[in-house]
């Protein structure tokens, strides 16, 4: 599985040659307050990325209860939602990210089944 992911990472890099953020993945996790679902999602996300892309990612958590105006930018409806801001294209995953494989597929790190 690891090799597959590395391959995908390589491919994505090739597709984005002008990337300036130096391999770093930019992720955004939207939540509305510290709900159990949001906390689960954050834990799951951490776990997946620590395993697969350690040190090569950054996660920005946005609480829409505090900043409701930010929801429009990424067209957020369902919560919790994970948005891959970089590399392009933008990808969205909704739910508590409990299924690691689906998350990886959703982030284009694994080819869809």
């Amino acid at each position: 599985m690891k090799s597959k992911i590395e391959k995908s990472v390589k491919r994505i890099k090739e597709e984005n040659p002008e990337s300036t953020v130096n391999d770093k993945w930019v992720l955004r996790l939207y939540a509305a307050g510290q709900t159990p679902k949001a906390l689960t999602a954050f834990t799951n996300l951490k776990k997946i990325f620590e395993e697969q892309l350690k040190g090569k990612y950054s996660i920005e958590v946005i609480d829409l209860m505090i900043n409701p105006q930010l929801g429009g930018e990424d067209q957020i409806l369902a919560l919790p939602a994970l948005v891959r801001k970089f590399p392009a294209p933008v990808r969205k995953i909704i739910g508590d990210l409990s299924n690691a494989e689906r998350v990886l597929v959703g982030l284009d790190l694994l080819p869809g089944s």
Partner: protein, 577 residues
């Protein structure tokens, strides 16, 4: 007083007026305040526009700002689309009277893993509502979520929560939904929004389309249940609740001239009733439009406003044609008293015509409406539709005290007392024009078939178009029937000749009698003379006779005297003794 008012308020459901023309009338005040309403219908039936107009009118007329959450069109598209209807959304957004929020959802971009909810949507909506203090919300079309989110269970639960939340928030909301196969909406939204359901419809019959609106349900309120035609034009929606009026028109005893003196004479010398409906029917080319134009001109001369719907001729053609009989309509058009509305009946459906009529009448506020002719509406077999439409028009005009004149073309075959559109029962005064073919020419005649509420003439009049307008002449009814045109003139000459002969005859007779009398008198005189001579003769004879008798008497006496002298003496002697 205050107490009853309080009671009243408690009983009725508070409503949020939409400001949409006609809609507040059929719903008795608008949409249920603080509750969601479902507006459903097929593609292109005007759901988005209905929602948008609700917001725009809400904020401009009732000072209730609104949020439009669009799931289909982007903000830019929306602004452009409604600009064509005269709504300046940009300005309203700038002044924080309306907030647009475009929710874009793309299935291919979304992957779901595990539990989620739609709190994000709630937050966005809440944020938009709070940012402008909105009282009204439109969600157009929330069903797009079904395409974007795979988990229907979660979605349905969340929608239920959303509508509950909208109620708690106290906003009046419109939720639009695409019409489903057998359900009102494709995804059964009516299950969640059950306070008020409005259905929009866009039907095409006989190649013409008609938009209709129906209030399917309205919890806790009376509402009109019919399908109401509506139209969308440069001023937005207008819905026509015309049939709700019933037969309670205020009637007038005032009379107005038909513009033709002789025709007025046939109608008790006063003309039509003000606010009545006049039908002029007849075969082709009998002068229906001329009668209509006369009426229009007369009204304009009185300073009244006339709205003329022409469905066959263009206004300029009509004005030119009427000039030939001395009616100058153009001056009145310039003065603004006469307005033409020229449309082809086939342009749009009956309901649209009704709506257009309604609108034109509403904006021009005429005293008189002329529709020339009405039977061009007959396209295919939809007599009932036309009848209902005309009934609505008549109703509407009557309730506004507008006198209406319709013309109707009747086919040559078939009875004349029959109109194609079967509206005779709606008509107060019915003038029938027909032509009579006799001795090689065709002449027009006219009579009043009916005229409610007046002792109208039962006479047939010949109808002549002259360069100074319509003239009505009495017709001759001879042994060969009604005589018109040159036959009438011939008959007139004939009658004159006969009259002259009779006059001569009488004079001759008079002379003869005079002569006879004179002869008689002479004879009488002669007889008198005869008689007199005979009489004198007789008198003479009688006298002679009498003389003779007297003489005879005398002679007798003398004789006796002479005979008895002796005797006497004797006697005397004896006596002495």
């Amino acid at each position: 007083m205050k107490k009853t008012e309080h009671k009243f308020l408690n009983k009725t459901l508070p409503k949020s007026p939409t400001g949409i023309q006609g809609f507040d009338e059929i719903t008795g005040g608008g949409l249920p305040k603080g509750r969601p309403t479902l507006v459903c219908g097929g593609a292109g039936c005007g759901k988005t526009l209905f929602g948008m107009e609700f917001l725009v009118r809400g904020t401009t007329q009732f000072n209730e700002p609104g949020v439009f959450m669009s799931f289909e069109e982007t903000n830019e598209e929306l602004i452009k689309n409604v600009a064509s209807l005269g709504f300046d959304l940009d300005d309203l957004i700038k002044h924080k009277k309306i907030a647009l929020d475009h929710v874009h959802i793309e299935r291919s971009e979304i992957e779901e893993t595990g539990e989620y909810d739609l709190e994000g949507l709630f937050i966005r909506l809440n944020y938009a509502i709070d940012s402008i203090g909105a009282k009204r919300v439109v969600l157009d079309t929330i069903e797009s979520l079904f395409a974007g989110l795979p988990n229907q269970l979660i979605l349905r639960a969340e929608l239920r929560r959303l509508f509950r939340w909208l109620k708690d928030k106290g906003v009046t909301a419109i939720i639009t939904g695409e019409r489903g196969e057998e359900t009102l909406t494709r995804h059964g939204l009516e299950e969640y929004i059950s306070d008020c359901v409005i259905m929009l419809d866009h039907r095409v019959t006989e190649q013409t389309s008609t938009r209709r609106l129906r209030v399917v349900k309205y919890r806790g309120s009376m509402h009109g249940t019919n399908e109401y035609p509506f139209l969308i034009d440069e001023n937005g929606f207008s819905i026509l609740p015309i049939t709700s009026l019933g037969l309670k028109h205020i009637i007038s005893n005032e009379r107005i001239s038909s513009g033709i003196t002789a025709l007025d004479k046939m109608l008790e010398g006063k003309g039509y009733f003000c606010g009545s409906t006049v039908l002029v029917s007849g075969t082709a080319g009998v002068g229906k439009t001329s009668i209509a134009s006369h009426f229009a001109e007369a009204a304009c001369k009185r300073g009244e406003r006339v709205l003329y719907f022409c469905f066959e001729e263009s206004p300029s053609q009509l004005m030119r044609n009427m000039l030939s009989i001395g009616i100058k309509l153009e001056t009145w058009v310039k003065k603004g008293l006469l307005q033409f509305q020229a449309t082809r009946p086939t342009n749009y459906g009956l309901e649209m015509h009704l709506a257009a009529t309604h609108k034109a009448v509403h904006s021009f506020k005429p005293h008189i409406v002329i529709m020339d002719p009405i039977n061009t509406f007959v396209i295919g077999d939809q007599e009932i539709g036309i009848k209902t439409m005309l009934m609505r028009i008549v109703d509407y005009l009557k309730s506004n005290q507008i006198t209406a004149l319709f013309t109707s073309l009747t086919a040559n075959e078939g009875t004349l007392e029959y109109t194609d559109v079967g509206i005779s029962s709606l008509i107060d005064t019915w003038l029938l024009l027909r032509d009579i073919e006799l001795s090689g020419e065709r002449n027009r005649v006219m009579y009043v078939l009916k005229s409610r509420g007046m002792a109208h003439s039962n006479q047939i009049r010949e109808f002549i178009l002259t360069d100074h307008g319509v003239e009505l002449r009495e017709v001759y009814i001879g042994t060969s029937g009604v005589l018109t045109g040159s036959a009438r003139i011939a008959q007139e000459a004939n009658e004159n000749a006969k009259l002259l002969t009779r006059k001569h005859d009488i004079e001759r007779k008079k002379r003869e009698i005079e002569r006879k009398r004179r002869t008689l008198e002479v004879q009488i005189a002669a007889l008198h003379a005869d008689f007199e001579s005979e009489e004198s003769e007789a008198v003479k004879m009688i006298e002679t006779e009498q003389d003779m008798i007297k003489q005879l008497e005398r002679d007798k006496i003398e004789m006796r005297e002479s005979r008895t002298t002796d005797d006497e003496n004797i006697t005397n002697k004896n006596l002495k003794k």
